[in-house]
Subunit: 331 residues, 2 copies
């Protein structure tokens, strides 16, 4: 088979008109960018090595145990990270490459018959930074391997089906990282605070969630649950910013202020949900989130730890490599 | 309302043990990374300004017109770009920020009652780089605003429903960028070459597609259709690479060689589909794709052009700003 490389005929010369001088300047700039990127990456790795907790230790620091009290967690603290905002950003950047490779291996495994997947559940009050996690942590891996669901108030069809129905429908396929922006936990949070269902129903749901999650783990889904924990003051200032900047007006909703008036009730509902539903197989992690850069780094590390725990390997070929090489050469 | 900032009590000091010297080294490295990133971005912009076609001109260069002949397009050419691979990578990086902002504006518009959306349709032979477009172009915008669908062979349920059924189900919501990795065009490509349906059915489908796409455009979806055009030789070398690298075995499928034997038939099927279904409202673009870096840059520019054409604006507030500020202060 011959390749087709005939020159474009009826198309005008498509290259923009560029002088020799411009070409040179551009070539030098491109060269410089590549060199500097290497230096940047080295610097970022230096930061990550120096001020972040050892791999695998963060989950234990943030995990919700039996004695857990949400009010004892300082939303401005940075457990497992001894650096500043600038260092946090560098450490986050240093984590992109390892996370991407692990994700690609998991994806490859899924395409090759593997059943394993990861589910990241992200909860938090309004303005706690859920969107930033999606953008800055999840956004750095291949979108082909991610299934993201943002749960809004359930539709009447969904309400008719039992609260876990729409959750089941959104679970990640094998090899994927599923991400829930809000989740079935809203059914014991806003449902409780807003009295959307009878108290007895809320009570039953904690057990239903634990059973559901246990089965999910048994069917090879690793669940990473994170609550982004902000302070009331920080929420106030983030909402105020949305009212100050025309490029942020769309993020503000008058209902956010109504919800804010129920702050203490929500903290209490979180306290109950976090402790009742932090199980050994699917523990909750509370991530201090007044510092956005810390929360992003922490969630990235929790995901990297979870993926490292799975240790996905490149699949072996299920065909004869030499045979296929010979077939290919013959084409 | 008071913020809760009690110190963590029963949690051990979570900061890793870090010496003063380590702290200093890390702080310096973080500072350096940030400074260098600014320099990198400047250099990348210099490249983009110097060697790429003016905004808005690329679509015309790549567009399929009535006289179009696929065999006349050189897969190694780089229409609208006068630089090298290094410069191509720099120009792609320079496009991330403008594309992200346009995407966020479109997303905001969609959340505020706007109906507009963008649909990117990506077609191309095996190994033409569809996955790389998803990862390196689509992967750089906020995943919340993207709905990505990879179309595989239709299931029996899907086959029973008419070929556009599953396509309609995957259309982007208002404010979203929908991405089709393969699409309804497979129904006139593999369906034609593999004789999966009678010839008369294929014939009818071109018209159905044009009607479908016209209605889609009428309902405020901007369609950007790109065919990644590689040469047969390039495909051979990309398949060979997959057979040479254990981390790429999973990407190879013996069926790829079978499909390769039908190369000429596929080129012919593309020629027909491209010319019959390149309409004024939803034109096809053929992107030379033997150079991955060029194809990625070109698709990014086509998307930026499409988004610029929509010129999405930050939504105005549909609430009283001063009133809400007062409510917030009172909390």
């Amino acid at each position: 088979m011959k390749s087709k490389k005939a020159p474009a005929s009826d198309v005008e010369d498509p290259a923009p008109e560029v002088s020799k001088k411009q070409r040179k300047r551009s070539a030098r700039a491109a060269e410089k960018a590549l060199e500097l990127i290497e230096e940047v990456e080295e610097a970022q790795e230096t930061v990550a090595e120096h001020v972040s907790a050892e791999a695998g230790t963060l989950a234990a620091l943030l995990q919700v145990g039996p004695q857990f009290q949400l009010q004892d967690v300082d939303p401005r603290s940075t457990p497992g990270f001894a650096g500043t905002k600038k260092e946090g950003k560098a450490a986050l950047a240093a984590g992109v490459e390892p996370m991407s490779e692990l994700q690609e291996r998991l994806f490859a495994e899924g395409l090759s018959g593997g059943e394993r997947s990861v589910l990241l559940v992200v909860q938090g009050m309004d303005t706690s930074g859920k969107g930033g996690i999606l953008r800055h942590v999840i956004g750095s891996v291949d979108p082909q391997g991610v299934s993201l669901t943002s749960f809004k108030a359930p539709t009447s069809e969904e309400r008719a089906k039992g609260f876990l129905w729409r959750i089941r429908a959104a679970l990640p396929e094998p090899g994927h990282i599923g991400v829930f922006d809000r989740s079935h936990y809203e059914d014991v949070l806003i449902a409780r605070v807003g009295k959307l269902v009878p108290a007895a129903t809320v009570q039953r749901r904690y057990a239903s969630i634990n059973t559901f999650e246990r089965r999910l783990v048994d069917s090879d889904t690793t669940i990473v649950k994170v609550m982004l924990h902000i302070s009331s003051d920080e929420q106030k200032s983030r909402l105020a910013e949305r009212l100050d900047r025309p490029d942020k007006y769309w993020k503000f909703n008058p209902g956010d202020v109504d919800q804010r008036l129920l702050w203490d009730e929500y903290q209490q509902a979180y306290q109950i949900a976090l402790t009742r539903c932090s199980t050994q197989r699917a523990p909750w992690h509370v991530v201090p989130a007044d510092r956005k850069w810390y929360a992003r780094w922490a969630v990235q590390q929790l995901l990297i730890d979870a993926l490292n725990g799975l240790a996905p390997q490149w699949p072996v070929a299920d065909y004869g490599i030499e045979e296929q090489k010979a077939r290919l050469v013959a084409t």
